[in-house]
């Protein structure tokens, strides 16, 4: 697996897109810091961007890599290597190189602006952690979609649709259902519905850091336990791990029956 991982990363690190992605984050970091001139505020703005953008980039990258490296994959499949090793290796390769781009792209400008001397370092670490989780989750989801769709156009279509659904439509349905059933106690439902969407889950982790003052304004024992204690953060991180593990398991299942 390490060999495949190594070659995937080497391959990706040479691809133009990795640099585009890296340059994008570098630029984003610098522009935000330049406009805000305050690390704390830049981190806050970034958090809003990260939870929408990393899933999109992870999805597109995952699908693109899968389809573009089809022949390479076939070459590997003819070698004495286990199937799951090949795909998990490639998966880790993409996720890690995306995370690396994120870390360096945002890290460099923030370090230049004095991150280590600032109190924002904790928020920044959370930001990178959430970004990394989203990379791993959405590349896994993208692989799932690509494995199930031979047709490249269709695969891309589904991947973008999935992102759109999880980033926007899901919350819309969520909000409307909350408003429709607002005579019922909904706090458990709303927390549960949050868990079912990795973007919402990451958003909650960030809310816990930034908007705890607002979240505690809601009257509900479940909310209070969730947001008022460490329970919320621990549970969210745990469910995020599930969100990585379950798509990976499905990739493995799918691989056992897949023809190339």
């Amino acid at each position: 697996m390490l060999k495949i991982l190594k070659y995937s990363i080497v391959d990706l690190l040479r691809s133009r897109w990795s640099y585009v992605y890296f340059a994008f984050y570098l630029l984003l970091g610098y522009v935000l810091l330049f406009l805000n001139n305050d690390i704390n505020k830049a981190v806050i703005t970034l958090m809003n961007i990260i939870i929408v953008l990393t899933p999109l980039i992870g999805t597109i990258f995952g699908v693109m890599y899968y389809y573009n490296s089809k022949e390479f994959t076939e070459l590997l499949l003819a070698q004495p290597i286990k199937r799951s090793t090949i795909f998990i290796g490639q998966y880790l390769g993409i996720s890690l190189s995306l995370t690396l781009s994120l870390l360096l792209g945002l890290g460099i400008p923030f370090v230049v602006y004095g991150l280590f001397k600032s109190a924002a370092i904790f928020d920044f670490s959370l930001l990178i952690l959430v970004g990394a989780f989203l990379n791993f989750i959405f590349v896994a989801l993208a692989f799932n979609i690509a494995l199930s769709n031979e047709n490249k156009i269709k695969g891309f279509g589904f991947a973008i649709l999935m992102w759109l659904f999880l980033a926007v439509i899901y919350d819309g349905i969520f909000m409307i259902s909350l408003m429709m059933f607002n005579e019922y106690p909904l706090d458990k439902f709303s927390l549960f519905a949050t868990m079912l969407n990795p973007i919402d889950l990451s958003r909650i982790l960030i809310l816990l850091k930034l908007d705890i003052s607002a979240l505690l304004g809601y009257t509900g024992a479940v909310f209070k336990d969730f947001f008022g204690t460490n329970l919320g953060a621990i549970l969210s991180l745990l469910v995020l791990c599930f969100w990585v593990a379950i798509p990976l398991l499905r990739i493995n299942m799918k691989l056992k029956k897949k023809d190339f």
């Binding site: 709303s190 949050t194 979240l215």
Partner: protein, 417 residues
């Protein structure tokens, strides 16, 4: 003539008594071993010096204008008895330099470290009061100065706890530079007027950091209120001047930096409201000027919960609040003008520092959250941003006259720290 003679007599007696003033020393090895004995001996104008040591006393009471000074902070242990430590009804007295601890709790009696009633011209300062029910109860007192006292309680529930400073029907009091924590209310004021509260720190009290009821013409400034159960409440009072106070980290369901209920003609200037669930909860308040205040990262910077008229908000900073403004009834005749809003995305082509398009502080999402509080978990979602944006472009639910027509491009007096 008779009246001036009377005055003369009073002044004469005062001088005479001062001339005759003597000093009584109290210590374990002294002739006088208890403070209570000393107060019984002391005459008008006498000074009692209490040496360092442990004194197990309560119900130290006097009617004379005497001065009790603790040297090197002697400790008075009230041993949780059902009696106040000092119970005073006197004019022209002073007490300073004591450590007082274990003041008894009672559900029926008002027990305090200092119980002062019907007194005037007095000073109580530099005392530390630990584990107490009430620290100061002041009834019908005038011209008193309470400063540099430190009050620590360990209140758990409201019913079995008392207030740090409890003022009832007082006038012209000054409460300064005190630290109060772990009490029910840090400072409680009822039917008291013309008083000043300044430079106090009221922290982690289970109910309010400061609580005003029916108390007019008061001023409080340069105080810090932090982590109190419900923040600061100012209720049913007129002509209150609040400035340079800091209200922060008041978190909870019914928690706010400042609650204003039925407040008329107040000035709220130069205060900082930071990371409170609600910055200011405004309920039925009229003719208040809000100026130069900083609202930073609150859940709701301003929440209106009743009819409010003729309030003016100008030159305030609203920065990174989850919601800048929320209301559940009609907002009439209130003016928002020339404030800085961090959410403002307009432009300033003529470079006069004022944005060329108005800012609407009420978001559609705050409307949704008012109706269905659970939707709060969708805060900062892309979907919410989209609906807020569409509402901003063409307002349907939010009132189109509620806006700041002169939003500032830069914050006013940025905080230096």
């Amino acid at each position: 003539m008779k009246k001036s003679l009377n005055y003369f007599l009073v002044i004469f007696l005062f001088i005479v008594s001062n001339l005759q003033a003597s000093t009584i020393t109290v210590c374990a090895s002294c002739e006088i071993k208890t403070i209570k004995d000393a107060t019984l001996l002391a005459k008008q104008g006498d000074t009692i010096i209490v040496k360092k040591g442990l004194y197990k006393e309560t119900k130290i009471s006097f009617q004379n204008g005497i001065h009790i000074i603790g040297e090197n902070y002697p400790t008075i242990d009230a041993e949780n008895k059902q009696e106040s430590v000092f119970s005073i009804k006197a004019n022209n007295f002073s007490i300073s330099g004591f450590n007082i601890k274990n003041v008894g709790m009672s559900y029926t009696k008002e027990i305090a470290a200092f119980f002062v009633s019907k007194s005037k011209n007095f000073v109580i300062q530099n005392n530390t009061i630990d584990n107490c029910f009430y620290a100061f109860i002041l009834q019908r007192t005038r011209f008193g100065l309470l400063s540099n006292n430190k009050v620590y309680g360990n209140a758990k529930v409201e019913a079995s706890s008392g207030n740090g400073f409890h003022l009832w029907k007082c006038d012209n009091m000054r409460i300064e530079k005190n630290v109060i924590s772990g009490m029910r209310d840090g400072i409680y004021i009822e039917y008291s007027e013309h008083s000043h509260f300044s430079d106090n720190k009221s922290i982690n009290n289970i109910r309010y950091g400061l609580h005003f009821m029916f108390s007019h013409y008061n001023e409080y400034h340069h105080n810090e209120f932090k982590g109190n159960g419900a923040g600061v409440a100012v209720m049913f009072s007129k002509h209150i001047n609040m400035h340079h106070n800091t209200f922060h980290f008041n978190w909870g369901t019914a928690s706010y930096g400042l609650l204003l209920k039925e407040i008329y003609d107040a000035e709220i200037v130069d205060n900082v409201f930071e990371q409170n669930t609600i910055g200011i909860n405004i309920d039925g308040c009229n003719r208040i000027n809000y100026k130069n205040n900083h609202f930073i990262r609150n859940g709701w910077a301003l929440k209106f919960t009743g009819g409010c008229y003729t309030n003016i908000f100008e030159y305030n900073n609203f920065m990174h609040n989850a919601f800048d403004l929320s209301y559940n009834s009609r907002l009439n005749d209130n003016k928002f003008e020339a404030n800085y809003w961090s959410e403002y995305t307009g432009y300033d082509i003529d470079k006069n520092g004022i944005g060329d398009v108005p800012f609407r502080p009420v978001k559609l999402f705050s409307y949704v959250v008012n109706k269905t509080p659970e939707t709060l978990v969708l805060l900062r979602s892309l979907f919410v941003d989209i609906i807020n944006f569409s509402e901003k472009v063409s307002p349907v639910f939010t009132p189109d006259d509620l806006m700041d027509v002169k939003p500032l491009m830069k914050p006013i007096n940025p905080l230096t720290d």
